[in-house]
């Protein structure tokens, strides 16, 4: 079965005065149809850049330097700008952090959804309006008619995020990328938004790529998880397996630094600091912080190896231990 989204060795660089920022280095990721995949990592680890790369929204001074991005069998890196425009918002859509600033402040929210429908679904005025209202209702907004006429500043943060989700799913995309959709939201609202995403994903059959720095979010709704560190994807596995049997030292470090209710333990921060993407360490970028680091780790990026079905890791130490 071909995956819906297949990223292979994607590398993104940014040209700055200080030099080249190597934001993403050889990232590989798979998202199957209808799956909810979490992409987790600290801030600045390149998660958002990866998301923008999928939509080919990397603008100068950034550029996609190498790799392949296949969506539904199509090579996105070879598609024309016009084809990409048609894919964005209708086949692959994106929901952003800070929903209130991601909505146009001077256009009523209902109109913003209608616009999208007119462009992508070819609906006329009445049809677009009906569908927009329906989407708002599906996204859990009470009194959709009243809300559709309001402006973003009149809605709460949670409601704005629901509007964004409604807009993102309006044209029935196959993939929804959610970039930190719950950051900045109240904990209870965040939980509601995550539930909404999962439910709508199941109902519409859309796959979701959920980008977050919060392991709790991942544990909540994801089917599979990919862990990113300093621009490199270091591990990917099913969510239960990742939490139960994390393989990569970074993943283990992450899980150790998060409090848990099911057992006693002490929180341990990960040693060292996130490496600079301007001067990244050669090879595996976690090596300087890793207790298991060997010389070979800095020679070149560790290849991705499967340690179990559906569980792959980019770590020489893990590979060695298996042998």
């Amino acid at each position: 079965m071909t995956p819906l989204l297949d990223l292979r060795d994607v590398t993104v660089h940014f040209d700055t005065d200080e030099g080249t920022v190597q934001a993403v280095d050889g990232a590989s990721l798979l998202v199957g149809a209808g799956e909810i995949v979490g992409l987790v990592g600290e801030s600045g680890s390149g998660k958002s850049v990866t998301a923008l790369a999928i939509l080919r929204l990397i603008r100068p001074p950034g550029r996609i330097v190498a790799g392949a991005i296949e969506f539904d069998g199509r090579d996105l890196l070879q598609a024309s700008e016009d084809e990409m425009r048609r894919i964005r918002g209708s086949q692959i859509s994106m929901v952003f952090q800070s929903p209130r600033t991601s909505l146009n402040p001077v256009i009523p929210v209902g109109r913003q959804i209608e616009r999208l429908l007119r462009v992508h679904a070819g609906l006329d005025g009445g049809g677009a309006r009906r569908r927009a209202l329906a989407m708002l209702a599906e996204a859990g907004i009470a009194e959709p008619e009243r809300r559709a006429a309001q402006y973003p500043h009149q809605l709460s943060g949670g409601m704005c995020q629901r509007v964004m989700i409604a807009m993102a799913l309006a044209a029935s995309p196959r993939l929804l990328i959610a970039d930190e959709p719950t950051t900045g939201l109240d904990v209870s609202i965040a939980a509601q938004i995550l539930d909404l995403l999962r439910d709508l994903g199941r109902r519409t059959g859309a796959a979701i790529l959920l980008i977050t720095h919060d392991l709790g979010v991942v544990a909540g709704i994801c089917d599979r998880v990919a862990v990113m560190h300093a621009g490199q994807i270091v591990e990917s596995a099913g969510v239960h397996r990742l939490f139960k049997q994390p393989a990569h030292p970074y993943t283990r470090g992450l899980l150790r630094s998060v409090p848990r209710l099911d057992r006693d333990f002490t929180m341990e921060p990960i040693a060292g600091a996130v490496p600079s993407l301007l001067d990244p360490p050669p090879g595996c970028r976690f090596a300087p912080r890793c207790a298991l680091a060997m010389d070979a780790c800095t020679a070149c990026r560790p290849p991705i190896v499967a340690v179990a079905p559906g569980h792959s890791v980019a770590c020489l130490a893990v590979e060695g231990a298996r042998r």
């Binding site: 929204l57 964005r88 402040p105």
Partner: protein, 337 residues
Amino acid sequence: MLGWYFLKRVLLIVPTLFGVTVITFTLTYLLPGNPALVKAGPLATPEHIAEMERRMGLDRPVAVQYWRYLSGVLRGDLGESATTGRPVLQDLLQRVPATLELTLASLLVALGVGIPLGVLAAVRRDSWVDHVSRLLGVGGVAMPTFWTGLLVLYVFFYKLGLAPPPLGRLSAGASAPTAITGLYTVDALLTANWAALRSALAQLVLPALTLGFSVMAPLMRMVRATMLETLESDYIKAAWAAGLPRRTIVYGDALRNCLIPVITLIGVVFGFLMAGNVVVEIVFAWPGIGNYAVTSLMSKDSGPIQSFVLFVAVVYVVVNLAVDLAYGFVDPRIRLR
């Protein structure tokens, strides 16, 4: 609530206007010479002068004098002009239409060229349009307005003979159209007086271009900066991610959002216009209020200038208020809660 926004703004100008009158009173108080002397005339005896001083309240404490000044201003008494012999307010009001016509024409030029050029320069960053607009912007801001006027006069009047001599609002021999608005071009248009229209327009072109250009330069830079900032906003990025066509994003969303703060820029632009007005009126012998104030001063008549300064300040404050109110109306973030 919009009502509060309006009310607050209107109330806030009161202390500002008070401050303005304090400043202009101080300037009037500081004027060289003894106003009583001027009023009493050259043949006055010391007793006459002292009597005049008492009558004008010049021997009273400062606060009382300020009160007299302020109540006079509120009554419309801005003193008298020694050269025309009439109340200054009357002189000013008579000349306001000329200044207004020049200001409006220049504003049209500045907005009509400045806004599109600024927007285009931001949208097509680093293209030739951007470079030209940056050149015009940076150069235009550095050019003294009076010099631009002289340059334009030299090239179009003296060298090319395209423009008429700078004789004011009408060319020699032409007569003013029937006064409806006081703006010759508008009045001529309204009364279908084509001869007057031609003459008035011909005289208006150079001064309006001069003042318009000098004000367009800073406006264009500000519009460009605003548009660039708007293009970087989160909602524009989200619009790209939603696959909306470029035309809609740039010339629809971004432009619409950019034009709202541009409204507030018009207030700033008005300040530049009023300052530039003075020198342009001098260069082109345009009979407006700036011309009046300066030429009076040159004839040792110091009454008009401070009243002119007060007049301009009040107009500036009111215009800024109007701009603020318009902004509050247009921006839904203020209009609705």
